[in-house]
């Protein structure tokens, strides 16, 4: 009986011993079996840019949220009296496209309109919006200047929209399709019409 018990304990010790020896092997195998843990994606903080109107009464805020290969731009306005920000526009573009607020973005005489510049895909694009988020004209929430321009003047391409010549007049510079310098135009945001100018606004 004692002999049997001794054999049992010996067997038990052997099993435990073998198990103990295997443990490190199992541990060392673990990294090979498990994939390398990927870091938890930490969302990038949105970049924020504020541009005040020339009379300092309105502020246009742009928040840029990068998400992989695209960027979402959100635009908010806030006035001197109404302190709460109002979201007026949002657009997601694929990189390397980007949207910027030009220095002369705000329309003079009341800050009714502002315009944005989209770059990174050949010809630049210019988008006009209202500061209150209302439609710019008729049913158009926003107006893309070069789209309207292309419908009326096929012989020219827009090279730059520099700013506002008056409360509703945007200054539009063009080139001819052959690359030579074209005329300047006024784009009347209120009537969605273009006026060809005899003088160029460089």
């Amino acid at each position: 009986m004692v002999k049997r018990l001794s054999l049992f304990f010996l067997f038990l010790i052997l099993v435990i011993g073998l198990s103990a020896k295997r443990l490190p092997v199992q541990l060392s195998m673990a990294p090979l079996v498990s994939p390398i843990p990927t870091p938890t994606p930490v969302p990038e903080l949105p970049k924020v840019m504020n541009v005040e109107s020339p009379d300092m009464k309105q502020t246009l805020t742009m928040k840029e949220q990068k998400n992989g290969s695209s960027v979402t731009h959100t635009f908010l306005t806030s006035g001197e009296k109404e302190h709460a920000q109002q979201q007026v526009f949002t657009k997601t573009v694929d990189l390397p496209k980007t949207i910027t607020i030009p220095f002369n973005a705000w329309s003079p005489g009341g800050n009714k309109y502002f315009f944005l510049k989209e770059t990174g895909s050949g010809l630049d694009s210019y988008i006009v919006l209202t500061s209150l988020g209302k439609p710019v004209a008729r049913d158009l929430q926003t107006v893309v200047v070069e789209e309207l321009f292309a419908q009326k003047y096929a012989d020219y391409k827009i090279t730059d929209v520099t700013g506002w010549a008056a409360p509703t007049l945007l200054v539009v510079n063009t080139d001819k399709l052959d690359g030579t310098v074209g005329p300047s135009f006024w784009f009347d945001v209120a009537s969605l019409s273009f006026t060809r100018l005899s003088t160029r606004f460089n």
Partner: protein, 247 residues
């Protein structure tokens, strides 16, 4: 042309009646005709020495005085525009001690090529911003001194589609030199009627955003005493250096 027709009709009749005096009267009539034609055909500059034009061709010297009109609508590029309200009772400008030695060494540089303005105190850059120089009339390059500062005035000029009438032009700093006198009306000032800075847009003055104009106005010499401040021997105006060529 009507004069020539009239003269050719008149001459034969005179010839028949007074043949002896014909040569002299012809000469007088011809001389008169030449003078009349010269006035019609030659540019005025050949005949009359014109005064150099004022930057604001209509208001001109009236613009040198303080003028605040809060209920008047402005006109620029054919559009009506509401000027900013100006409250003269509101204390906006910091006062500095007159004859302040710290204000020495100030200068304003306007680069017409890049349409930028930089204000320095010695080597230290005080401010830099985009401006709009003359488009319809060039801003003359040169070295100037500020001679009067006005909190606001009215400026008007141009004609036809180019006509403008702008009340409450804010933060006006008139400058001059020996070649471009005070009465020419060139100045640095705020502009509320356009937002196309970085590009020529004015009738000869240097346009700035209102906020920029206010910042410069509060800094530039002579130190602001009231809503109209003249430079004098004790408080000379800051030097304004304009150079380059507008695009």
């Amino acid at each position: 042309m009507n004069l020539i027709k009239w003269y050719s009709e008149l001459m034969p009749k005179q010839k028949n009646k007074t043949a002896g005096k014909c040569g002299f009267s012809h000469l007088i009539a011809l001389m008169g005709l030449v003078v009349v034609l010269a006035f019609i055909l030659l540019p005025n500059s050949y005949l009359i020495k014109k005064k150099p034009p004022c930057a604001n061709s209509i208001s001109c010297t009236q613009s040198f005085g303080l003028k605040v009109e809060n209920d008047v609508v402005g006109i620029f590029n054919g559009q009506k525009i509401t000027p900013p309200q100006i409250d003269l009772a509101q204390k906006e400008t910091p006062t500095r001690v007159l004859g302040d030695s710290a204000s020495a060494g100030k200068r304003v540089e306007v680069d017409l090529t890049t349409q930028t303005l930089k204000a320095y105190e010695g080597d230290k850059l005080f401010m830099e911003t985009l401006i709009s120089s003359g488009k319809w009339f060039p801003t003359p390059p040169g070295e100037y001194d500020v001679w009067v500062k006005l909190r606001a005035t009215r400026m008007s000029g141009g004609e036809g589609a180019d006509y403008y009438d702008l009340p409450n032009v804010p933060y006006v700093m008139f400058f001059y030199n020996k070649d471009v006198g005070r009465m020419r009306g060139f100045s640095l000032h705020g502009a509320y009627w356009h937002n196309n800075f970085g590009h020529p847009m004015s009738h000869g003055c240097v346009n700035m955003r209102i906020a920029d104009a206010q910042k410069l106005y509060d800094w530039i010499n002579p130190p602001t005493k009231s809503n109209t401040t003249y430079a004098d021997k004790d408080n000379p105006g800051t030097k304004v250096i304009i150079y380059g060529q507008a695009p």
